[in-house]
Subunit: 317 residues, 2 copies
């Protein structure tokens, strides 16, 4: 971030017609946006949402409440404007791009070996990296991929250890949750030799849409575009970057805390405080998209308010 | 609310292209909006924010970090578009009306007797009641009034008993906070004979802008316009109605939890779970205005998404 822009934004914040600190976290958000955008008057009127879709070999293990065909069906739904993310994008004036990543070629079942080859994971990272519009002033990466909460749980387990990273995803029953836990354990065991390297964790246990989200978050960093992180799966993608290079997520804010069981714990590992906590667990970038409104409010106040001097208002004691 | 509309909105919610419950609290919000608007496809594209401003005799007791002149100065700032609420109203497409209520005639100092006469409180209630636009599909009542966190603390103390309802408001120091606590205690003692009747509590300890907010919340109820409650002062106004007629706030949702000390406790008394918790403590309706974006997102998803059948997506197991 730009230290001079942060200092200028902080100075501006101190002169606006409000008691010091009265806009709470909105003030910090706006200053942070200014730092990444390199200005004391940040904007958030060109948000971009990119959704990445991928299919997962591990669905063969019965880890989802929905059939794998739903990934492609939902991509069609995105194209027709019928999904939740379409409505949220419209509400907050965001550009929405959908990237279907070889849906007819699922990743390999990670309980039997690496989910992707090196060429596959690099291609997915590249697709994500190139998806970030240079015009965007705020970026959200979302996903669609039946089976991908199992993949995300495996990544979190590999990165942080411990148990209980698998959750109910789109709504599996107890038996389904046990199958998810078994798949995670099997995936870690099968790929054990490679689990010390975060990028190998991504290749072995991730999916194309998860790798693409990681690539996009990195791409946004290069372009100095602030990012709102979505839920459990997006944060698993982000966690790979943070493990590989601590500080890699400094340009990211957590949009929300999902109802997916282990998301709160993952946010804690990332040191991110969510902006919203409304029980969403949909994916598609929906929680982060909803948080675009909060960031827009923060930036509008910071960049649009008059100072005490401009407005002729007496400052406090 | 309209039971048939609620049933229809619930049925619609169950058919939308998402796992059941995956939009969390947004689903409940949209159904609630539908109930009050009498439709299974509620809207939130005509939000109205009304700010009421009033001055308080109790400022003579040194209860604020700002001089009383700031009330009028901020009203001028609202008119020139320089305040936080102007930016938030613009961000979420809300109509913004500002009602300055006899700023050159502060209420009487409630530590020495009733703050308002009967005629004064009735006039303020009327101003609020009439402020609600019949066109609005969502309503926010905000306030500006140097000294009014002291008035709100006195109301909360009278309605619910106990101690510690006074907080730091716009930022008083320890001595200022002790003066606020003393003023609250003196106000309750001086007006003790009338504290059994919530509307007398409003008259004796409130202010014109607080009474107007109560009138506006009631006016919105008559017009079946859903309301987003703002912070501590707005909730003190609302609490008068709830005490007078339990259920009077069923058309209201809590927009946010303010950083003003006792707001969380007041929300608990009202049985309201806040949508946001971002440390705001500005007033002007700002926290509720920020929550307009959340309601717009909820309603957009509910009313705009396709059903599984419409989108050709397979439903879950």
């Amino acid at each position: 971030p730009d230290a001079a822009a942060i200092a200028a934004a902080e100075a501006r914040n101190g002169q606006l017609t409000k008691p010091p600190g009265a806009l709470g976290r909105l003030e910090k958000l706006a200053i942070w946006m200014g730092g990444w955008q390199g200005t004391d008057k940040p904007t958030a009127d060109k948000p971009q949402i990119a959704i990445f879709a991928g299919n997962h070999g591990v669905t063969a293990k019965g880890v989802s409440a929905f059939p794998a065909e739903v990934t492609a069906q939902m991509v069609a739904n995105f194209a027709h404007g019928g999904a939740a993310i379409n409505q949220l994008a419209r509400t907050f004036g965001a550009r929405l791009d959908v990237h279907a990543l070889e849906l007819d070629r699922p990743t390999a079942d990670f309980t039997e070996g690496p989910a992707m080859t090196e060429a596959e994971v690099v291609e997915a990272l590249r697709r994500g990296h190139e998806a970030v519009s240079p015009d965007a002033d705020l970026f959200v990466a979302g996903e669609m991929g039946i089976g991908n909460t199992t993949s995300a749980a495996a990544i979190a387990t590999a990165l942080y250890g411990g148990f209980g990273w698998a959750g109910r995803g789109t709504g599996v029953d107890d038996a389904g949750l046990r199958r998810k836990e078994a798949a995670v354990a099997a995936g870690i065991e099968k790929n054990a030799a490679l689990m010390g390297d975060p990028l190998e964790v991504l290749r072995c246990l991730g999916g194309r849409e998860i790798a693409a989200m990681a690539g996009a978050i990195l791409g946004a960093r290069m372009a100095r575009v602030p990012v709102i992180l979505d839920g459990f799966i997006a944060c698993a993608a982000a966690a790979v970057l943070e493990k590989a290079a601590p500080g890699a997520l400094d340009h990211c804010v957590a949009g929300h805390q999902s109802a997916e069981g282990a998301h709160a714990r993952l946010l804690e590992k990332l040191g991110k405080e969510p902006l919203l906590n409304l029980g969403l667990r949909l994916g598609e970038g929906s929680g982060a998209a909803l948080a675009i409104g909060v960031v827009q409010g923060a930036v509008a106040c910071h960049s649009g308010m008059l100072t005490f001097a401009e407005a002729g208002v007496a400052a406090g004691a």
